[in-house]
């Protein structure tokens, strides 16, 4: 199968699921669709072998990194102040209501990396070390992001014991401290 046919099949079969995943990260449908398009272009621009069967998983990772890249280009190394996400309007088209609308709005208070950590933890069901590997940051950094996310979400959503950072071994890397 050509890469074009492979791409066509992926978009047809899994496009909506990929958009849903992107929606959790960006919080509105139009941006989610743009993000998925960009991630697909990045994925298929790289002469990837056609026989790969894990392409959807790869695209999800690319969605994640494309999402963070967008903020990274603006903020990487440039800001002294913490990354602060601009609260985005909750997309009515996702038809969220009640409790879920509360959660959707609460997620907009998170910085991009905090939001990514929350999605990886509670949607992708990854452990802290796995999140660290996925984002290429230390498990300690993951704990910090989840801790900050807890601080922001609990006033809006109530106690979030799942966001308590477990005492997992920190990946040894980085500057001596």
């Amino acid at each position: 199968m050509s890469w074009e046919a492979d791409l066509d099949r992926l978009v047809t079969d899994r496009g909506p699921a990929l958009v849903a995943y992107a929606y959790l990260l960006v919080g509105d449908m139009a941006s989610a669709e743009d993000l998925v398009q960009d991630a697909l272009v990045r994925t298929y621009s790289r002469r990837r072998p056609e026989e790969i069967t894990w392409v959807e998983a790869y695209v999800r990772r690319t969605i994640l990194h494309t999402f963070l890249d967008g903020y990274r280009a603006k903020t990487r190394f440039a800001a002294v102040t913490p990354l602060v996400a601009t609260p985005e309007a909750v997309d009515d088209e996702a038809s969220v209501a009640g409790d879920r609308a509360d959660v959707a709005r609460a997620l907009t208070t998170l910085s991009p990396r905090e939001r990514a950590c929350v999605v990886l933890r509670f949607y992708d069901d990854l452990t802290l070390p796995e999140i660290g590997l996925r984002l290429d940051i230390s498990a300690g950094a993951v704990k910090r992001y989840l801790s900050d996310a807890r601080h922001k979400l609990e006033p809006l959503l109530g106690p979030q014991p799942g966001l308590a950072a477990e005492d997992v071994a920190t990946i040894t890397k980085g500057g001596a401290r």
């Binding site: 890469w3 074009e4 791409l7 978009v11 047809t12 496009g15 909506p16 849903a20 995943y21 929606y23 959790l24 449908m29 989610a32 669709e33 697909l40 272009v41 990045r42 298929y44 621009s45 790289r46 990837r48 990194h65 963070l68 890249d69 903020y71 990274r72 280009a73 990487r76 190394f77 002294v80 913490p82 990354l83 969220v96 409790d99 879920r100 959660v103 910085s111 991009p112 509670f122 949607y123 940051i137 230390s138 950094a141 704990k143 910090r144 992001y145 801790s147 900050d148 807890r150 601080h151 979400l153 959503l157 979030q160 308590a164 040894t172 890397k173 980085g174 500057g175 001596a176 401290r177």
Partner: protein, 476 residues
Amino acid sequence: MNRDLESALEELAARAEQSHRSRRAPLPVDLITARARRGRRTRGALVAAGAAAAVVAVAGTAFAVLPNLTPVPPAETPTPTVTTSPTPTPTETPTPTPTLAPVVLPPGNPSLPFGACGSLADAAPAYPVDDRVDVRITPATDTLSAGGFVSAGGVIERPMPFETYLAYAVPDDGPSVAVVKDGVVVGTASFSEVAGDVTAGRSGNDGEVTFFTSLLGLTVCDPGDGGPVTAGRPLPAGTYELRPWASIVTYDGLPEAPAELFQDSLTFEQAAALGGTPATAVGEPTTVTVTGEAETQQPLPGADVPLDTTTFAAPPACGAPAPVAPLRGAMLDLQVTPVATTLASGEPLAVTATVQYTGPDRLRFYGYERIDYWVVQDGVVVGVTVVANDAFSQYDVGSGAPLVFSEWGLVLTSCVTESGYPLSTGDPLPAGEYTVYPAWAFSDPVARTGTGTVEMLRPDDIYSVTLGSPIPVTLT
């Protein structure tokens, strides 16, 4: 109110998927295919032609092509690595001589708060201890010669795991260190040679934690009572405890530290006046042993080195010619071992690296918590390990006190340019002969001297790198 995030996210995703299926136009697969096709053509042409644009930008005439340097391990008495004038030989252990006057240490004074010169080790500090904030120091060695230094790292931060949120303020110059002998504080040290009274706000964790390194000289402190204490004299042979501590301000109930802390340089008292509670953070003690005896404390390395603000490099671009290396951006020297290796494609290249500031006084900047690789083949950059990552931290490093990166492994991967940044594609490079340029990414370097701060030159709109000596690597 308690929202279960797991089920909430699943439901949100399900609703979004259904909304996209029923109420939105399908993804434009033809447009996506066309864009990907253009990308494949562009990438093919780039690889075939090789890019000609030089990307290592060096300002002025201070292009520093440096000789290979012997790796500088953490040492109690590091040798300055760049100097234009004769320097003392700090590695020589001073020989005790009978002509040295005896060292007089401060006597214990139970009326002083902990941390003050002459205070008792078990005295209460000036402000109540708050264990929600931790102070740590990590000496690189447990022995030093009298008159020499011990290289140490230090940090003030919330201990993990974080059970509660806390906004607070800390000394901008890092932890203080009480040097204790026989239950009395006989020496005081800090991570800045002249620590000022400036506080820094802490509200979250995105780049706010500052990691310090410094060469700590252990000398007799001055209790200021006019007694016979030999203040300034190196501490004599013996075992000492190093007890880190810091005066902090906590802001319970506030969602963020007061904005004033981020807008101006406020003193401790001013920070406390913003609705805060003065407190003391204390850390676990460590023990060091001083050997020998010395009349005077050695000068810090780098003290006589002119500040070079003009040497810097931007990250080499994908497809560009190989960078000129080593290159000490912002006077940061990167040393890496091993110097050559063979490994299988897809296997991480593990190195141990040190990053050491070679200039005068101190350097503050934001840096990655990792060493990255730029990979060159046939004179062209074909790979990079950099990924999107905002997990940078602030560093404040003293001359001669290295940051150490241990056994840090990354798979050598091919390169793509995204939003103007060279990034890893995630695809392992195939078997072949390569030259790996280790680099440390950082931004906003500012030299902190005794007379003020000096901004170091840097690239426009992109971060800086300091480059180590290239490593020949064979991938099989």
